[in-house]
Amino acid sequence: MNGQTMFHPFARVLHWLMAIMILAMLFIGAGMVSTLSEKHTWLVNLHKPLGMAVFVLALIRLGFRLTHRAPPLPADLPAWQKLAAHASHWMLYALMLAMPLIGWGMLSAGGYPVVLGGGVRLPSILPADPALFAWLRESHRYLAWLFFLTFLAHMGAALMHGLIRQDGVLRSMTGGRRR
């Protein structure tokens, strides 16, 4: 079979840009709720606009993914690994869309103005409700854990493809010469 071996360049740019942003978001989020220091304020002020940027890019990326073919996984990859690859990819898509929405909804339910900085304020998407706030806030926490664990699996698997199997899966996203 002489099929497509690389992701589209636009998909690769989006992947690596969002990888940096999402990883930064996970660290910013974990850090900002762990400290009483001045870092808290500037991390929160960074977390909100960066989160909305991830949401917008995730919508673009999902649209692109649904209209463009991704290179197929190697034919000799065990079935469970194929399943894990597909499931984790869709999990990552779901989380990169859900997390910003939950964050936005949680601020709305908490009665906070949703301020992105630079004079930009988003409307509330949910009524002020303390119980709803608490559910969303805790969901945001535990889904962030799930997000980070999925990222670890994704990175580990990508390195396994690149270093152990050397089957071109990692190169399909990094680009570069075929060896």
Binding site: T5, A30, L36, P74, A128, P130, F151
Partner: protein, 358 residues
């Protein structure tokens, strides 16, 4: 060429180790940043745990500090005098409604009103354009300490002795002796008495902020609201534990209560980022208008119940200073708010909110 057999390195142990190191290293970095691998860090949870412990444990559904309070509503009548200094529409002439709360410090919602010589007043102004200004003010001119670390130490030092139910005076003395920044507060607190009324108190922002004008210039300020009410009211009966709410209700029955909002501008060299130091008298002051309290509601059913009076929620035209206590208040209030809303929402693992409906 995806269907060519993958070429595997002959001895992949080193490569597997590399992959493991990348995954474990990432997890460790996340653990450090999140604080799980940095147990010495002063976290919001650690601060709130300490406030809770000092209040005889958690009181589900209540704020972890300033737990005993009452909701009020009213409006701010701006006179326009501050408009040249802040671009916020709040300070143009006109009215802005607010949701407010009077309270006493401490985490015990059943503490006697006479237990502390300090009262607090929190306001959330709801601007017409959807912006908000939240401020939590206290009826004292200065904060005891300058940093969250020192505040934490103060809380640890003032933990009630199980034998007496009161803080150990020796530990308190040792704390104040090792914190010379507490001098101004100690001088004030010696003269302070629990006021029989919320209405007669002057409430201070304590932390400094910046006002930013329409030209983009910023100026450091502190604010206070100064009461019109002159009559101290009747002294509470000996041994009476709850008199502040009744006094407020009685006064409001004969009409709204008013405070003047006074902005004090720092002069060159005044400490902007230190809540433990007072600015000298004679600083420029601007009377921005009147805070009018019109009605009162118990806190378990009032609009203030679900408001986190985080002092860093600000409209355009007001900005935080670098006072480290502001970030700490924001972070700690958020933790307290999550705890009480989780109890309110009966989230799994939270204490029953039964007590709060009393």
């Amino acid at each position: 060429m995806r269907d060519t057999p993958s070429k595997r390195p002959p001895n992949p142990i080193g490569r597997w180790a590399l992959i493991l190191a990348a995954v474990a290293g990432s997890a460790a970095a996340f653990g450090y940043v999140g604080g799980w691998l940095a147990p010495g860090r002063l976290s919001p949870a650690k601060m709130i745990d300490t406030l809770q412990a000092n209040s005889g444990g958690a009181h589900p559904g209540y704020r972890r500090n300033h737990a005993k309070g009452i909701c009020v509503a009213g409006y701010f009548e701006s006179n326009g005098a501050l408009a040249p200094y802040s671009s916020s529409p709040l300070f143009g002439p006109g009215r802005t409604p607010f949701v407010g709360r009077f309270a006493i410090p401490g985490g015990n919602p059943y503490a006697p009103d006479s237990s502390v010589p300090i009262r607090s007043f929190a306001l959330r102004f709801d601007l017409a354009d959807g912006e908000q200004w939240r401020t939590g003010m206290n009826a004292m001119p200065v904060f005891p300490v300058s940093t969250p670390e020192a505040f934490y130490e103060q809380q640890v030092a003032s933990r009630p002795d199980p034998a007496t139910g009161k803080p150990d005076p020796e530990r308190m003395k040792a704390f104040f002796a090792s914190h010379p920044e507490t001098t101004a507060f100690l001088a004030w607190v010696k003269t302070a008495k629990p006021s029989p009324s919320f209405a007669t108190e002057t409430y201070n922002s304590i932390n400094a902020f910046y006002l930013r004008d329409a030209q983009g210039e910023r100026r450091a300020v502190r604010w206070k609201v100064v009461p019109d009410a002159a009559s101290p009211g009747t002294a509470p009966a000996e041994g009476e534990k709850n008199y502040l709410d009744a006094d407020l209700g009685n006064r409001l029955a004969s009409g709204p209560l008013r405070w003047h909002m006074i902005m004090t501008f720092a002069a060159d060299g005044d400490p902007v980022d230190d809540a433990a130091s007072v600015w000298p008298d004679g600083r420029k002051e601007v009377d921005a208008g009147t805070v009018v309290v019109a009605s009162v509601t118990p806190q378990d059913s009032g609009a203030c119940r679900d408001v986190n009076y985080d002092p860093t929620v600000l409209p355009r035209g007001i900005e935080v200073s670098n006072d480290p206590l502001l970030a700490a208040r924001s972070a700690a209030y958020a933790d307290s708010y999550l705890r009480r809303t989780s109890e309110e929402g009966h989230l799994p693992g939270t204490a029953s909110k039964k007590e709060a409906s009393r």
